[in-house]
């Protein structure tokens, strides 16, 4: 009935397993984000979803469309490269912001000009 019926059984099984594994990793990352107690611990778990979780689901998507259209469909790599490159940048910025915000304030109430490394 649906378009997945045209997939060979082996490809169908691989796609199903990859999709569920990727989604489970993303869920694990979000549960870690919810459960861990400090900010510096919490920043670690979401990266599971952004690297391996995204990679597995994109692999399943590439496999599905390549098999259905009988040609290599690899434009999903754009998302993978973009997210994998940008996530460390944003998280490092966030950690620097967190470190800056947790510094003690000066006597006049202004935030001490720390966090500037130059």
């Amino acid at each position: 009935m649906n378009h997945f019926a045209e997939l060979p059984p082996l490809v169908g099984v691989i796609v199903g397993v990859l999709v569920v594994l990727g989604a489970a990793l993303a869920l694990l990352g979000s549960v870690g984000l919810l459960r861990l107690s400090t900010f510096y611990e919490r920043i670690h778990p979401p990266t599971m979803g952004t690297t391996l979780g995204l990679g597995l689901i994109l692999l399943a998507s590439m496999l599905t469309f390549s098999t259905l259209e009988s040609r290599p469909v690899i434009h999903e790599i754009v998302i993978a490269v973009f997210v994998v490159v940008t996530t460390p940048v944003t998280y490092m910025l966030l950690v620097r912001a967190a470190i800056h915000r947790e510094q003690p304030r000066r006597d006049d109430g202004a935030i001490d000009a720390g966090g500037r490394n130059e």
Binding site: F4, G12, G16, R42, G49, S61
Partner: protein
């Protein structure tokens, strides 16, 4: 048979991703500090990208792929801008 297996797997994955977004949403609402909320927003948009990709696989269309790409780009820009704001108190100096 293969078709119903793949659709079932996609439905399970979508439920898991919706739960992941719900967890991130709870963290977004609870805080406790601004950087926790920004981190939760970042995790939420990555989960949204994954959810859109599974929708695209179910419908066999690339429209969702383009939406996922736009969310990825805008999510990076917004998280970077929010982190810059937390660091300096202004985005563009």
């Amino acid at each position: 048979m293969t078709g119903s297996f793949v659709v079932g797997a996609l439905v399970v994955a979508q439920v898991l991703l919706a739960l992941a977004m719900a967890c991130a949403l709870v963290r977004l609402l609870r805080g406790p500090r601004a950087q926790d909320r920004v981190l939760a927003l970042d995790a939420m948009y990555v989960d949204a990208i994954l959810l859109l990709l599974t929708f695209g696989m179910r419908e066999a269309t690339t429209v969702y792929f383009e939406a996922a790409l736009v969310i990825g780009v805008l999510g990076f820009v917004s998280t970077a801008a929010l982190a810059k704001f937390l660091l300096r108190g202004e985005v563009i100096e």
